[in-house]
């Protein structure tokens, strides 16, 4: 038996193969949940009745008028629920609420013969509300002390002492914008009841087992009576980890009540107004640097905007706290984390899961402080990178910390950083109205679910008599290429060609009790389980082959569908013949595989332990160009060196890196969620509730020159075939874009001052940063007027650049500028 990381001869992992569904994608033949409804007859459509209040008590619900609409079949309300009226895991998310908790909250669903009927029926339902006071912004929540869930503190050493001994001290505040997932396929479910009373739900879900559990408890059924299948998703990004459950339960409830299939597909506006997003954060901080610019103390408070219910807010916050350090050694640190409760959608998992918000804090600190310390941002970051032997604030040794500096050095060379820094300076000197910025930032991201129990997976592998292989695992495919990798893993473990392996859709009746496909762990966990199942089968087949070849079973080799004994290549058995022979000898040709990540432990209360199997590392260099007249910018070139271990599938991994990067850049520079925070009639309404108002990156935001390099000789021991997770970490490579924008904005001014940049750094936010830089003051008077105007119009998550300028340190009272002790 080989170790988990070792690769055999001619492995199918590591080959650059396209996505297993690519031919189906490009021909429109790939089916998504709502495509299935067309292929089924008698399907009813469900449509939500959405409340027009941020917070209100439902005082009356008259469904009778809906039944007068032709084609309306049923109106689903709380009275229809045979089990528990709850769509969450914290018992704080009633599926049919009697108290509206956010603008757009669905209080009932109408089932119609078609979409038109269901929609008109929903418009006809008469709901009366008693409006209640609402809390919308993080400022309002902090002021009102509206918090939910646990508050946790991550600490090491003595932050106060660390700060007191610092040569340079700064403090500040920052507001970090949220992000809409904007998977191209909105939430969709399709449910029917089969002849045995089994409820069969097809759902666009990252977490079929939990969808199954929620559907079962809403229906009052045991889990074995509910099967959930997910063919594939048109994107997930974390948005389909928790949020699909309630929608699936509505479809299932409708199917049970009417005996007909029910589809529920949210349109884009419903999806935007009903489902959770990336948590906005507020952070206040105090930081200290020693005389050599090393971080010596950090004290911070992070407040996330959890929305109306807890959902995954607590683990998201835990991951944020565990990533405040990013790639930097901070000896004395104390970070308090808390979750605000607001009358908004319930914020949820989103690629990075709090990690990006945590890292934002330290990257923002370093970017703002570098000019005040009189050091380049590159040098300040490099100075503070972890060294081998150091541990994170939560006590986990930073294994392979040397890779951070290796990656840094390789990237500086590959990107021509020094020469291009000079070029940028020359360009800026020659161009008064256009400036360029060049920045480098690192990523260190912990891999594994913080909650240790989730780090397990199952698989089911069948070998048929003709040698063909069918694999099934608990992970879901949302475009990340998990299924492609799993086919490669199975083909490698069995020693058969890729064409011998087929993958069947994810179903809860094939592999039970699965974890969400999340935390970047899909390939690690399910790959481990598939490999385990394949090795069980291969061991049994080795016995059969050994008898046929007259060698010891340990000396049987499986390569490309040919089975031989070591050194006896004159005799070989075709894989299919071996399968046939095994069948006749009554040897089992199928196996269930299981995997649990070893060596993890986590004390969630103390925030100490080793929650991660390993860290994924990377770094990126971005060059941007900013138009001083408008604040508009372009990404001229991006270089990335990223550590995926030994890649299971390089084309897939590069796709994850590039896609994650652009998505991260979207979060940091473009995508802006705005709610109506006035006291007007639409208080709480999401004003960016369509594709025309919520802008994700388009072709024009793609870096013109985009170069990704996979860190070489990067075998990760203890992970399937030496690979590393890749789903989330690259998103955080995008900080280099934000930092490059900061540098370009600074170049419009005299330099030496801190440049604050709104989040997201939209062209407008960059323009105000440019204006501030030109004026040579970090907090010009115009910022105040900007803030007041912006707030008059609605919540403004940072488009005004200098709203939260660094404030003076307590040690130098009265000083109008930044304090240096």
């Amino acid at each position: 038996m080989s170790t988990l990381a070792e690769r055999p001869v001619n492995p199918k992992v590591g080959l650059e193969v396209p996505h297993e569904s690519a031919p189906l994608h490009v021909t429109g033949a790939a089916l998504y949940t709502d495509d299935l409804a067309v292929r089924m007859s008698g399907v009813l459509t469900a449509w939500p009745v959405q409340a027009p209040h941020a917070h209100a008590r439902v005082t009356g619900l008259d469904v009778a008028p809906a039944y007068a609409v032709e084609g309306v079949v049923h109106v689903l309300t709380a009275a229809d629920v045979p089990g528990v009226n709850d769509a969450g895991i914290k018992h704080d998310e009633p599926l049919f609420p009697d108290e509206v908790m956010f603008y757009g909250h669905a209080v009932a669903y109408v089932l119609g013969e078609n979409e038109e009927a269901a929609r008109l029926g929903a418009e006809a339902v008469r709901v009366t509300y008693e409006p209640l006071p609402s809390i919308l912004t993080l400022h309002e929540a902090i002021e009102a002390e509206s918090f939910q869930g646990h508050q946790r503190t991550l600490s090491r050493g003595d932050a106060e002492a660390g700060l007191a001994g610092a040569a340079h001290r700064f403090s500040g505040e920052v507001e970090i914008g949220g992000q809409e997932h904007f998977y191209l396929e909105t939430h969709a479910s399709l449910a029917h009841v089969d002849e045995g009373g089994q409820v069969f739900v097809q759902s666009s879900t990252q977490h079929p087992s939990e969808t199954q559990e929620i559907v079962a408890h809403v229906l009052g059924l045991a889990s074995h009576a509910v099967t959930v299948q997910c063919l594939r998703m048109g994107g997930g990004f974390g948005g389909k980890e928790m949020q699909p459950h309630g929608f699936a339960a509505v479809a299932a409830l409708g199917a049970v009540l009417t005996g007909r299939p029910v589809r529920l597909r949210l349109n884009r506006t419903q999806d935007l107004t009903m489902s959770g997003k990336r948590h906005p954060f507020h952070a206040s901080w105090e930081v200290g640097f020693d005389a050599d610019h090393r971080l010596c103390g950090l004290r911070a408070t992070l407040t996330s905007d959890g929305g109306w219910s807890l959902d995954l807010s607590e683990p998201v916050l835990a991951r944020a706290l565990c990533h405040v350090d990013n790639a930097y050694w901070i000896p004395d640190i104390e970070v308090l984390g808390r979750v605000a409760k607001t009358h908004k959608t319930s914020q949820t998992a989103f690629r990075g899961f709090g990690g990006p918000q945590g890292m934002f804090v330290v990257e923002d600190i370093l970017g703002r402080c570098a000019p005040l310390l009189g050091v380049s941002a590159e040098e300040l970051r490099r100075t503070n990178l972890y060294l081998p032997g150091q541990a994170t604030p939560y006590g986990q040794p930073v294994r392979h910390a040397e890779r951070l500096r290796d990656i840094w050095q390789i990237l500086l060379e590959r990107s021509g950083f020094a020469a291009r820094t000079a070029e940028v300076e020359a360009f800026n000197a020659a161009h008064p109205h256009t400036k360029r910025g060049l920045a480098i930032t690192p990523v260190k991201f912990g891999i594994s679910f913080n909650l240790t129990a989730f780090n397990q997976a199952g698989a089911l592998v069948h070998v048929y008599k003709d040698g063909s292989v069918l694999i099934n695992h608990g992970g879901t495919e949302m475009g990340q290429g998990l299924h492609t990798k799993m086919i490669q893993v199975a083909a490698t473990a069995l020693g058969v060609p890729l064409s011998a392996v087929r993958l069947a859709p994810t179903r809860t009746d094939k592999v039970p009790n699965t974890s969400a496909t999340a935390a970047s762990s899909g390939a690690d966990l399910n790959g481990g389980a598939i490999r385990n199942a394949c090795e069980q089968i291969r061991e049994r087949l080795a016995d059969v082959a050994a008898r046929m070849l007259n060698v010891h079973p340990n000396d049987v080799s499986f390569v490309d569908g040919v089975v031989t004994g070591i050194g006896f290549h004159d005799r070989q058995i075709a894989w299919a013949d071996l399968a046939q022979a095994a069948y006749h000898q009554r040897v089992s040709l199928w196996a269930a595989g299981f995997y649990r990540t070893e060596g993890l432990h986590w004390d969630a209360e103390r925030m100490q332990g080793e929650p991660f199997k390993y860290f994924a590392y990377g770094a990126s260099v971005s060059e941007v160009e900013v138009d001083g007249f408008t604040g508009a910018y372009r990404a001229r070139r991006v270089d990335i060196v990223h550590d995926v271990g030994d890649s299971l599938s390089p084309l897939i991994d590069v796709g994850q890196i590039e896609g994650g990067f652009v998505q991260g850049a979207g979060w940091l520079t473009l995508e802006e969620l705005r709610w109506d925070t006035t006291d007007g009639p639409h208080r709480g309404r999401l004003s960016t509730q369509s594709a025309s108002t919520y802008k994700l990156p388009s072709f024009s935001e793609m870096p013109a020159d985009f170069r990704v390099h996979l860190f070489e000789r990067a075998t990760e021991s203890g992970v399937v075939y030496g690979s590393k997770a890749v789903g989330e970490p690259p998103l955080m490579l995008a900080f280099s874009v934000r930092e490059a924008l900061r540098q370009a904005a600074a170049a419009f001014g005299p330099g030496g001052v801190e440049v604050d940049l709104g989040s997201p750094a939209t062209p407008e936010a960059v323009f105000w940063a440019v204006e501030a830089a030109r004026s040579g003051h970090p907090e010009p008077a115009l910022a105040e007027s900007a803030a007041s105007e912006a707030y008059a119009a609605g919540e403004h998550s940072g488009a005004v650049a200098t709203e939260h300028a660094i404030t003076e340190s307590a040690s130098t009272p009265g000083s109008p500028s930044l304090a240096q002790a």
Partner: protein, 511 residues
């Protein structure tokens, strides 16, 4: 909103057969779709689920399909072997299915099969152009339309490709209306730039050698309302006189959003998009007259740069998918304050030709708008054409302020058309005439009259323009909204003039 009425007026002759569309080479009956079933919903109900709904408002392109249209570039159209028609990408979510009656549509399913991929599909699949795959069929259709574009030609050996073009002549803007949330676009660009040229015998290329189907008169009804495509302008005007509450349809890029997002339903939809009388473009010594139902792409190609300010507008107007459907008639009919064509047409001193059964008359565009999405057009009138008088001002620019360069809506837009007394743009010249059109600063598109007056007679220098720039910053009453703050909008008005004069003065040397 129109009063629902499902009566089909008698002036339209019944068509030869029931309404139908040729999809992927096979004729399919449209059925009783009326005016509110979109092409996307109809295709999906037919089982062609490759086309997806991502946003239902023409922003994301997941629904993109191809339609065969007359080719606008070839003067020899129809001649032996020459291109007579062209595959055009459009958003299926915006067009009523009925508008495709008699037309030929191609979807990703018709382009190739999993075991027999089309070259576009092969490149997309092999290069990692799809991840979740949901946006992919739409990308494939936009890409294939560009693949078959008759005047796409590779850069000559040793020549740098044109800006945002591949070495194979592929114009990246062909994909500007398609959004992908997974890939970050690089592999899609590489797939597009790796495409070769369609080979002889390629069935879809061969199809472009013969004419696209002519528009035919159409009528269809559903419980929600009727759709009528009159055959002639006279019929259309008659219909309008009888049914002044009818919804007039150009490219349906705005009405489609009303249908899908605001669930507007109308008793009668009258499609003007293929009326021959509204589809001409004529240049005389005095003016350009542009038919109201020509798509912006058609106008762009027929003008071929002859109106430089329009040439600057087109690449910034929404996306290729939208420009392939949207018309000046529709833009003016909607009269939105943030439509990008209006500031440009204002700066060009355009006139609108309005026609009714009783008369035809011209209105200066500056006098056309009366309020938010309101105009002087009477209910029985339709917009026949837009007239752009000559001579054209020599110094023009269009500044669009938006979050994205591609596929976005303006927070502010400014169109300049200036004349200087000296033909050179040297520091000696003085502004003799100025027209500035603004979008996004008031309930209607407006002329910046105060600024224009402040510019005329002043030297064309940053100093000379400073006062006018301040005036420009005070034009209109910009609002705070989700696109931008009022303060930013005002700053951008001011900055736009400073940017123009700065770039003009230095000829771009120190930008």
């Amino acid at each position: 909103m129109a009063v629902p009425s499902t009566a089909v007026p008698s002036v339209v002759e019944p068509t030869a057969g029931a309404p139908s569309v040729v999809v992927n080479g096979r004729e399919r009956a449209l059925g009783e779709v009326g005016g509110h079933v979109t092409l996307l919903d109809w295709l999906r109900a037919e089982g062609l689920t490759g086309s997806k709904e991502g946003c239902a408002e023409g922003e994301c392109g997941a629904c993109a399909v191809m339609v065969l249209r007359p080719d606008e570039t070839s003067s020899t159209a129809g001649a032996d072997g020459a291109t007579a028609s062209t595959w055009v990408s459009v958003n299926a979510c915006l067009a009523p299915a009925a508008a495709l009656d008699g037309q030929e549509v191609l979807t990703a399913e018709g382009l190739g099969r999993p075991d027999a991929l089309h070259p576009v599909q092969r490149e997309m699949a092999d290069r990692g152009g799809s991840q979740c795959g949901y946006c992919t069929p739409g990308f494939v259709c936009s890409m294939a339309a560009e693949y078959y574009r008759g005047d796409r030609s590779p850069a000559a050996d040793g020549q740098e490709p044109a800006h945002e073009h591949g070495p194979n002549g592929f114009d990246l803007h062909a994909l500007s209306g398609n959004l992908c949330r997974c890939t970050g676009y690089r592999p899609i660009r590489d797939a597009a730039y790796a495409l070769g040229t369609p080979v002889d015998g390629d069935a879809l290329l061969t199809r472009t050698r013969t004419a696209a189907p002519a528009a035919r008169p159409t009528r269809t009804s559903s419980p929600q309302g009727s759709f009528v495509r009159p055959g002639t302008l006279v019929e259309a005007l008659g219909l309008l006189a009888e049914h002044p509450d009818a919804t007039l349809l150009g490219g349906s890029t705005d009405w489609g959003v009303e249908l899908n997002l605001r669930h507007s339903r109308t008793g009668l939809t009258v499609a003007l998009d293929r009326l021959p009388e509204l589809r001409s473009l004529v240049e005389t010594d005095e003016a350009f007259e542009i038919g109201a139902s020509l798509t912006l792409t058609e106008v762009e190609r027929r003008l071929d740069g002859r109106v430089p300010l329009l040439a600057e507008l087109f690449p910034q107007f929404a996306s290729r998918l939208i420009r392939n459907a949207a018309t000046f008639g529709g833009n003016l009919g909607t009269a939105s304050p943030i439509g990008d064509s209006m500031p440009v047409l204002l700066a060009l001193d355009a006139q609108v030709v309005l026609a009714s059964r009783r008369c035809e008359h011209r209105v200066a565009l500056a006098d056309y708008f009366t309020g938010y999405r309101a105009s002087v057009r009477r209910p029985d009138e339709l917009i026949k054409s837009v007239i752009i008088p000559k001579p054209l001002a020599p110094l023009v620019a269009f500044h669009k302020i938006a979050k994205r360069r591609f596929d976005d809506i303006s927070s502010v837009s400014v169109a300049f058309a200036l004349t200087l007394d000296s033909p050179s743009t040297g520091s000696g010249s003085v502004v003799t005439q100025a027209r500035i059109g603004l979008g996004g600063v008031a309930a209607t598109p407006v002329r910046a009259r105060t600024t224009e007056d402040a510019l005329v007679g002043r030297p064309w220098t940053p100093e000379g323009a400073a006062e006018a720039a301040a005036a420009l910053g005070s034009e209109g009453t910009p609002l705070d909204d989700h696109r931008a703050s009022a303060r930013y909008r005002r700053a951008m008005l001011r900055q736009s003039l400073l940017k123009l004069v700065s770039e003009q003065q230095t000829d771009g040397a120190s930008r």
